[in-house]
Every structure is written in structure tokens, then in C-alpha cells.
């Protein structure tokens, strides 16, 4: 079957089986391997992309269901080489370790800040509840999103909470 959609601002189309999941279309047909597969069952959130302004788990829908939609993946976030504030926040505040959950985590956080650029800690935690991370304990992910929120609002981000020195 033919599918067409807009991905990261460009028109794409491809030939897929009816059962092909959106995440596999993105990874295999479009070679955008930044979107990860952690469970293929809608639980881990590693496959999160933004579809028509909403975060969706791309393993939980078929490629054909995304026909005509507009999708942003992790690869489409930076513009002209400039990191998105959320990407910058993850780097500045050590929001990732192995980096496997990170693309999905970043996409969910981007979607949150688009709706609410000044979320509380509880709101941040709630909005990434569907994204599992086994490495970071979420502490620095929360700090990364707080950092990004400040950037989006044009404010000075809060300082890091680690203590320097050996």
C-alpha cells in the first residue's frame, strides 16, 4: 500500500504492508533511526514522535493511519544546526545516560512545553509518565525540562543542582 505524509517538513511516501507500524515506516523506509523501539507495545515511549502537534507512540499506530499527517521526529527538531531548547536542556542538565529513551523523552517534553511553557515539577513528571527511562531516575530529565522551559520563556535557567569539586 502507498502512504504519504509530511515528515520533518518534507513530503514523503512509501510502499508498506497493511500491518507495518508507523515506527517501522519511519525507521526502515525513511531511515530515520533516531526514533527507537523499546517494547513495540505502547508502554515504553521510546518511539514517541509528534504527530499533528500531539505526542504519539509510533509503535501504537499503523503507517497507513498516519496518511496525510504531519510528523516531527527527533531528527527534525534542531533547526539550521541550532539545538531545540529541550535538546539543549538535556545536554546541559545531564538528562540522558545511555540515550536510548532520549529521543522519545525529548519529543514528549517538546509537546509539553508547546502546551505549557512553565510547567511545575509535578506537571513535568506527569507528562513524561509514559516514557520509561531505566538510567537517569528522571531527576535530571525534570531539570532538563525546567531548563528548556526557562529558555522558551526567555528567562535565565535555574543553576544546576550538583556540587562542584572532587
Amino acid at each position: 500500500m502507498q502512504v504519504s505524509m509530511t515528515v520533518n517538513g518534507g513530503e514523503v511516501s512509501g510502499d508498506v504492508e497493511a500491518r507495518t507500524l508507523l515506527v517501522h515506516f519511519i525507521r526502515e523506509n525513511l531511515h530515520l533511526t533516531g526514533t527507537h523501539v523499546g517494547c513495540e507495545s505502547g508502554y515504553c515511549g521510546a518511539c514517541t514522535v509528534i504527530l499533528d502537534s500531539k505526542p504519539v507512540k509510533s509503535c501504537s499506530m499503523l503507517a497507513v493511519q498516519a496518511e496525510g499527517s504531519s510528523i516531527t521526529t527527533i531528527e527534525g527538531l534542531a533547526s539550521n544546526g541550532e539545538l531545540h531548547p529541550v535538546q539543549e536542556g538535556f545536554w546541559e542538565r545531564h538528562g540522558l545516560q545511555c540515550g536510548f529513551c532520549t529521543p522519545g523523552m525529548i519529543m514528549s517534553s517538546v509537546a509539553l512545553l508547546e502546551e505549557n511553557d512553565n510547567p511545575s515539577e509535578a506537571e513535568i513528571r506527569h507528562s513524561i509518565e509514559g516514557n520509561l527511562c531505566r538510567c537517569t531516575g528522571y531527576h535530571n530529565i525534570v531539570k532538563a525540562v525546567e531548563y528548556a522551559g526557562a529558555k522558551v520563556r526567555g528567562e535565565e535557567p535555574p543553576p544546576p543542582d550538583w556540587e562542584e569539586g572532587s
Binding site: V37, S41, Q97, C98, C101, L132, C133
Partner: protein, 782 residues
């Protein structure tokens, strides 16, 4: 220009690719003409295989081959580093011994077809008696493997049972005894395990990409399994790996089988596990049932401690298996001085997936037992748990401290560390809050646990105790290697034998090299996880990377610098003793204007005619570091919880930690290791358990049934430190990868039991999910 300095939170060099989605994990590396493998796995825990019909699968368009034990029997069982107990056949041979055991492998043109093929293989089974419970297994009433005489494949024993008993029998002593389960866990890294195997016909060499923490061991196993001329013909690459936690500290059947299929079919073969496969074919962790007993004098003076129980190994021994409990033995006495000690752990086979290393590996188990027992003793003695601990700790003047288990702990001020926690967490204030809460009928708990762990594996003498890489044909002890190569343009390659899975070794190792050489981090590249480049690497596990691998980098950098100093001295017409490296160059001590940039030094070092007479070209040094002792990080943690009296729901309100991991290279990364580790330990305390039914079926094989902590299950953490360097290595670093996981589990359980102590509750088995807590409350109230 960033000169990496000790104790600074340099941002990670790993991150730019990962935050852009450009990091390459196994499943992101594609090859032309690749095929995909899928496995037919047993639905029975113990059964005879009466027939396998592969004809329907073979007939499916796109299926290339279906392999069974007949095809791979000659390759032998899966090799193990500690080959005690039953080794795993690559594919089940006539009988299956656990749910999820691989029975057949289907290889097809793509993954979907391979899975269709696996569904079309029909296997007939004749179910046999199942042994699931490790304590039942230890009775030997039914055998897991009928060709083994006993289900007990190894017993660790140390100390003096009679001496402990004599003290317990004394009339004036108080005996506290608790039987507890440290339940079986599933590591659950977010990236599934995966491999990409490429046999190169004509050369008879193999390249394997794998989600491993120890590429060299896998290469050794491939060389032996496939009769290669040697390990140099097997190249194993761990690219970006999405989490380790011990699950990658193994050699797996799927690694061997994918290589086999690639050899047979002449095509690259990929296999990526599904999440439910991961729960059964990847190693599990923990799985102990044991009784901890403390004998004390009425004033709280500890006399004796014993820990006796069984450790579940699952159906087959893999990489470490029986060696995991002995890592726990090292820290079994905790931070306390005893007059007598006894430890005995029976390692048993059951009809379940293999148990092996999981973050902390043995040390979380023994720390859990001793810290829960100490809290229980405090209650029995009517003493404050903090005072009781401090009364019995090793004191600063005791170090190096010899324990009755035969270890020598390097350095510590346990009481001082706990004092910092008391102050930072305002324990007095928390106790006051608790009093108020209790007066209102609320269940508010303050739980403390302290720990010491044994890290930095290991002085090479440990290899004589059976833990060496020899099981893979690589006679080598637990030292670690590094190469520091300054190129002619003064950029640097650091090659390490460690196998990071998110710990930031690229950043920290370049920080170390930059600190030593005075070359900016931007000019340093760290290469890891590729056996082609590394002299010999043991890998990452047991919080050893900084304390062994990082130190090797420092030594190799120093050696390179020593040679560079000769070249610089020649260029500056100075004496080599006076050469100081800084700011991307070298200068003469005391005269910063007599300087030469690194680019000139490096360029000269590759042109013999410009070098000092008789000196050989090149700036490339290797080091192997063999530590003089294990390292002994320690710390004190407190959790504050409130238990809902109606539902049993545990709310974690606050978590404060004071850790001492010796000198710190990058505080940001140390903090991250603690956050993640603490969260994993909280997962064990509150949420996670691998549960089998009586038939041996794993009933927690999805992430819904096996919930790991989400962002709403944990609070932000309040971290503090004390610093007691070790003398086991020249950097004074101790290791931090497992600390959080080791201590947070008993911290949380101590807090919940403290909350419920007005009901007389002394212990609840983990995980403390609402239903279990509610049931304990109901029982206590009745």
C-alpha cells in the same frame, strides 16, 4: 578549549549525537542483503520435546532456514566464565528447562517474516515435573537436571557457625532473626538486546555487533565455539548500548546462533529481541531466600551475624551465575564489627531463566539482609537505629579494616558520613513530624540504611579464585587496559577496555587524559567497545570502570607525557624534569614564556631526525592497571514515606543521600549514577518482581505486569557527599555505579516498616505494592 579537570562537571561529549537521534545502536546499523532471525521458544518450564515440525515454516516465502539442536549440537553448549552447574545448550536438545528457552531459530528475509516463520514451527511437548521455588529445589525432592546429582550446584560458606550459635545461646544476649526474600528481578534495559552477525567467507573471520558490556568475552566465546584460528579472527563491537545493568555482562546463545546462521547463509543476520522475549531469554537478577540473624548484648553491642539461605541460579549457568553470591559475600558483614560471623549460600538450579549479574550483583542482596536485620534489632533492643549503627560501625582508626570474611576495607568514616545525613536530612525534624503524624493516626515512616560496597574488580589475584576470563579462552585477570595515542597533529585517541552503556566514559576518560596531558578535550576521541582496537578489555561491571579502567587511562597518559617531555625538553633546550604541560602545550617550570605548543611536540615526535638522538618515533603508550585492593565506597541514605491506611499505597515523600565514592572526577555524572541507581533500588522495594506460577510460567513478562519506576513514582533526590579517597589506585576513586541500587532498597523497606511499626509489623516482603501492604495491615489489625 576545555582542559578536563578533576572535580568539574564537564558536559558529556556523548550527548550531541544522542540528543539529535544520531547515535547508532545495534538496530540502527544496516547492511545490504541482511537477513533476520526469530526464535521459537518453549511455553513449558520442563518438558520433553517429542517432535518438531518445521515444514510449514520452511515453506513460507522469504524463510531461508529453520535450525534446531541437530544443526548446532556440534558447537557445544554456551560457554561460561564460571562453568559450574549445567551449561545452556545453544538450542534445546530434546528437553526444555525453562519457559522461553530457545527451541528453534528461523531466519528469513526480514524480521516480520522470521516471526511468521517462528509461529509456523510446530513443537510437541510432553510436560515433566517443574521445580520453581529455590527453597524446594534445595531439598532435592525433584531434580532439575536428572544427570546432575543435586540441584545445589555450589555452596559458598565462610565463618564459624558454632561460634555464632554459642553467642546466641548465651543467656544475656538478644537474638534477632528475620527470614526474608530478596526477589528475582528482570534488568529491563530500555533497548532490547540485539545482534548483527557478519561472517566473512574467504577470510573465516566474523564481526558481531552486540548489546554487550564485555566485547572481549564474547569474542573469546566466538573463537572457541566456531574453532576460529584465534580471538583475533572475531571482532566484537558494542556500539551505542541502551542500558546495561548487568544484562550485558554475559555471553548469550543468540550471539552464537546469529553468527552460525550468518556462516551458513552467507548473509549478515540480525536479531532484535522482543520485550516479552527479553523477560525470559535475558538473564535475571537477585532471587535469594535467606535468614539473617544478629546476636547482640542488651546495650546494643553487636556480637555475631549470620546469613544462611539459597540463591536461585535458574535452569542453566551462564557467565558468572554461582559467582554472583560471592560478590555479596565480600560485603556480607556490612559496616559493622562482629566477634563471630557465619555465611552459607546454596546456589540452586530451578526450571526458570538464568539468574546472573544485575546492578550490584550480590551486594544489594547482602546489604539488604544486614540493613533490614539491623533495623529489626534496633526495634528488639528498643534503640534508635542510627545510634545502634554508630555504636557498631568500624571507626576511622580501624582502617584498613579487616573483616571476618577475609576482606580488607580501604578507608572510611562511616559515623562521620551518617552524621552528615542526620544534619542534611534534619532527622530530628523528621522524627518530630512523625510524632505529629502518629498522633493523627497517620502512618509516616523514616527509614535509614547505610552500606559499604566492594567495587573496582579486581586485584588480579582474584583470578585464582575462579573469576578470570579463562572460560572464554582468554587467560586474563580483572585488570583493565588503556592506550593513549597522541597523533602527529596533537589530537589524541584514547582506547579503553571498558564497555560503557550510558556511564559517560567518553567524557570522563577524555577528562582524565586532558587533565594529565594539558590537551583540550575537544581534541580527544575515546574509542571503546571494539575488540579490534583494544589490547584486552574486561568491560564494565561491578562499578569498576573508573577505579580500574579510568586509572589505566591516567597511567597510559602519564607514560605518553613522559616521552613527550623528552621531546619538549629537546625543543626548549631545557631539562626534561623542568617540563610542565598545560594549556595545550609545554613550558619550562617558572618560565611560562619558554613554551612550545603540543602541535610542535607531537609533530617532532613522529620525525626521528628532529628528535633527540636515538629516540624512537611515536607517542603511543599502553597501560594495564592491576589495583592493589578492591575499593569500598559507602554511604547513608534516608527515605521518608507515608502509607495510606485505607489502600496500603506507599508514597515516597523525600529521599536524602550522603555518598562517599572517594575522589570525584565529574560530579554531574556521579549524581546521575546515583539518581538512576537509587531509582532502580526503589523499583525493587516497591514495584518489581519476576513472578512464576506453579507451572513455571513467567506471569510478569510485559512492562504492564513488570512495572519499572516511572517519573511519577519517584521524587527528586537530595544528594550530598563526604570524600575519603582510596589508596587502592593512584586516582583515589572508588566507584559509584551501583551504590544507589545497593542501599535504596533497604532504605525504603526500613521506612515502610517504620511507618507501620505502631501496628507491630516487623517485615513485609518486597515489592511493597499496595495490596501486599494492605494485607499486612489487615492481618496486624486483626
Amino acid at each position: 578549549m576545555t582542559i578536563g579537570v578533576f572535580g568539574t562537571s564537564v558536559k558529556r561529549t556523548e550527548d550531541p549525537a544522542l540528543i539529535r537521534g544520531q547515535g547508532l545502536f545495534v538496530d540502527d546499523i544496516k547492511r545490504d542483503n541482511e537477513a533476520a532471525a526469530a526464535f521459537v521458544r518453549s511455553p513449558f518450564a520442563h518438558a520433553k520435546i517429542t517432535s518438531i515440525d518445521k515444514s510449514a515454516a520452511e515453506a513460507l516465502p522469504g524463510v531461508q532456514a529453520v535450525y534446531t539442536a541437530d544443526d548446532v549440537r556440534s558447537l557445544g553448549p554456551l560457554l561460561a566464565q564460571v562453568p559450574i552447574g549445567k551449561l545452556r545448550p545453544l538450542l534445546a536438545d530434546g528437553v526444555v528447562k525453562h519457559v522461553g528457552e530457545a527451541v528453534a531459530m528461523v531466519v528469513a528475509d526480514n524480521a516480520a517474516t522470521a516471526r511468521d516463520g517462528a509461529d509456523a514451527v510446530f513443537v510437541d511437548y510432553d510436560p515433566l515435573k517443574v521445580v520453581v521455588d529455590p527453597e524446594y529445589a534445595a531439598t532435592n525432592e525433584a531434580l532439575v537436571h536428572d544427570d546432575l546429582e543435586s540441584n545445589i550446584i555450589h555452596t559458598w560458606e565462610e565463618g564459624d557457625a558454632e561460634a555464632v550459635q554459642a553467642l546466641a545461646d548465651r543467656e544475656d544476649t538478644v537474638v534477632t532473626s528475620v527470614k526474608m526474600v530478596n526477589q528475582r528481578l528482570i534488568p529491563t534495559a530500555i533497548e532490547p538486546r540485539g545482534v548483527l552477525a557478519e561472517w566473512q567467507h574467504g577470510y573465516d573471520r566474523v564481526t558481531l555487533h552486540s548489546t554487550t558490556q564485555q566485547p572481549h568475552a564474547v569474542a573469546g566465546a566466538l573463537a572457541l565455539t566456531f574453532g576460529l584460528p584465534g580471538v583475533s579472527s572475531a571482532r566484537v563491537i558494542a556500539p551505542e548500548v541502551g542500558g546495561g545493568f548487568g544484562r550485558g555482562l554475559n555471553v548469550y546463545a543468540e550471539e552464537m546462533l546469529a553468527v552460525f546462521a550468518s556462516r551458513e547463509l552467507g548473509r549478515p543476520v540480525r536479531w532484535i529481541e522482543t520485550r516479552s522475549e527479553a523477560s525470559k531469554s535475558t538473564t535475571h537478577g537477585r532471587g535469594w531466600a535467606a535468614t539473617a540473624t544478629i546476636v547482640s548484648e542488651p546495650d546494643g553491642n553487636f556480637l555475631a551475624y549470620s546469613l544462611v539461605g539459597v540463591a536461585d541460579m535458574g535452569a542453566y549457568s551462564q557467565n558468572f551465575s554461582v559467582a554472583i553470591p560471592v560478590l555479596g559475600q565480600f560485603t556480607m558483614p556490612g559496616q559493622y564489627k562482629w566477634d563471630a560471623i557465619y555465611w552459607k549460600m546454596d546456589c540452586v538450579h530451578t526450571h526458570t531463566p538464568t539468574v546472573d549479574a544485575y546492578r550490584g550483583a550480590g551486594r544489594p542482596e547482602t546489604s539488604f539482609y544486614v540493613e533490614r536485620a539491623v533495623d529489626t534489632a534496633a526495634r528488639d533492643l528498643g534503640m534508635d537505629p542510627i545510634e545502634l549503627r554508630k555504636k557498631n560501625f568500624f571507626q576511622p582508626e580501624d582502617f584498613p579494616a579487616a573483616t571476618l570474611i577475609g576482606m580488607s576495607m580501604d578507608s572510611g568514616d562511616y559515623g562521620g558520613n551518617l552524621d552528615v545525613l542526620v544534619e542534611k536530612a534534619d532527622i530530628a525534624g523528621l522524627r518530630a513530624m512523625q510524632e505529629t503524624a502518629r498522633a493523627e493516626g497517620r502512618y509516616f515512616g523514616v527509614g535509614i540504611a547505610t552500606f559499604v560496597e566492594a567495587c573496582g574488580l579486581a586485584p588480579s589475584g582474584f583470578a585464582d579464585a575462579g573469576v578470570s576470563w579463562a572460560g572464554y579462552g582468554l587467560p586474563s585477570a580483572f585488570n583493565e587496559s588503556a592506550v593513549v595515542r597522541v597523533h602527529p597533529d596533537a589530537s589524541v585517541t584514547v582506547v579503553t577496555g571498558t564497555g560503557p552503556t550510558g556511564q559517560g566514559h567518553e567524557t570522563v576518560w577524555s577528562q582524565i587524559a586532558s587533565d594529565r596531558l594539558g590537551i583540550p578535550m575537544e581534541r580527544i576521541t575515546v574509542v571503546h567497545g571494539d575488540t579490534k582496537d583494544t589490547p584486552m578489555g574486561i568491560g564494565t561491571g561491578g562499578s569498576r570502570s573508573a577505579a580500574v579502567g579510568g586509572v589505566a587511562v591516567a597511567i597510559a597518559a602519564d607514560r605518553t607525557k613522559e616521552k613527550a617531555a623528552k621531546v619538549a625538553a629537546h625543543l626548549l633546550e631545557a631539562s626534561e624534569e623542568d617540563i610542565v604541560f598545560a594549556d595545550n602545550g609545554a613550558h619550562v617550570a617558572g618560565s611560562p614564556d619558554k613554551n612550545v605548543p603540543w602541535t610542535d611536540i607531537a609533530a617532532t615526535a613522529y620525525q626521528p631526525h628532529k628528535m633527540p638522538e636515538g629516540m624512537e618515533a611515536g607517542l603511543d603508550m599502553t597501560a594495564f592497571f592491576d589495583p592493589s585492593n578492591l575499593t569500598w565506597p559507602y554511604g547513608s541514605h534516608v527515605a521518608v514515606v507515608e502509607v495510606d491506611p485505607e489502600t496500603g499505597d506507599v508514597e515516597l515523600l523525600k529521599y536524602v543521600a550522603v555518598d562517599d565514592c572517594g575522589n570525584i572526577i565529574n560530579p554531574m555524572i556521579v549524581g546521575g549514577q546515583l539518581h538512576g541507581g537509587i531509582t532502580q533500588g526503589i523499583g525493587q522495594a516497591l514495584l518489581e518482581a519476576a513472578v512464576f506460577d506453579d507451572e513455571g510460567t513467567l506471569i510478569t513478562s510485559t512492562l504492564t505486569d513488570y512495572p519499572i519506576p516511572t517519573a511519577t513514582d519517584v521524587p527528586s533526590f537530595d544528594l550530598h557527599k563526604t570524600t575519603t579517597p582510596t589508596d587502592a589506585n593512584p586516582l583515589g576513586v572508588k566507584g559509584i555505579g551501583e551504590a544507589g541500587t545497593i542501599v535504596s532498597t533497604p532504605t525504603i523497606v526500613n521506612a515502610v516498616v517504620d511507618a507501620l511499626s505502631p501496628l507491630g509489623i516487623k517485615h513485609i516482603e518486597m515489592p511493597l505494592r499496595p495490596r501486599r501492604v494492605w494485607e499486612a495491615m489487615q492481618e496486624a489489625r486483626a
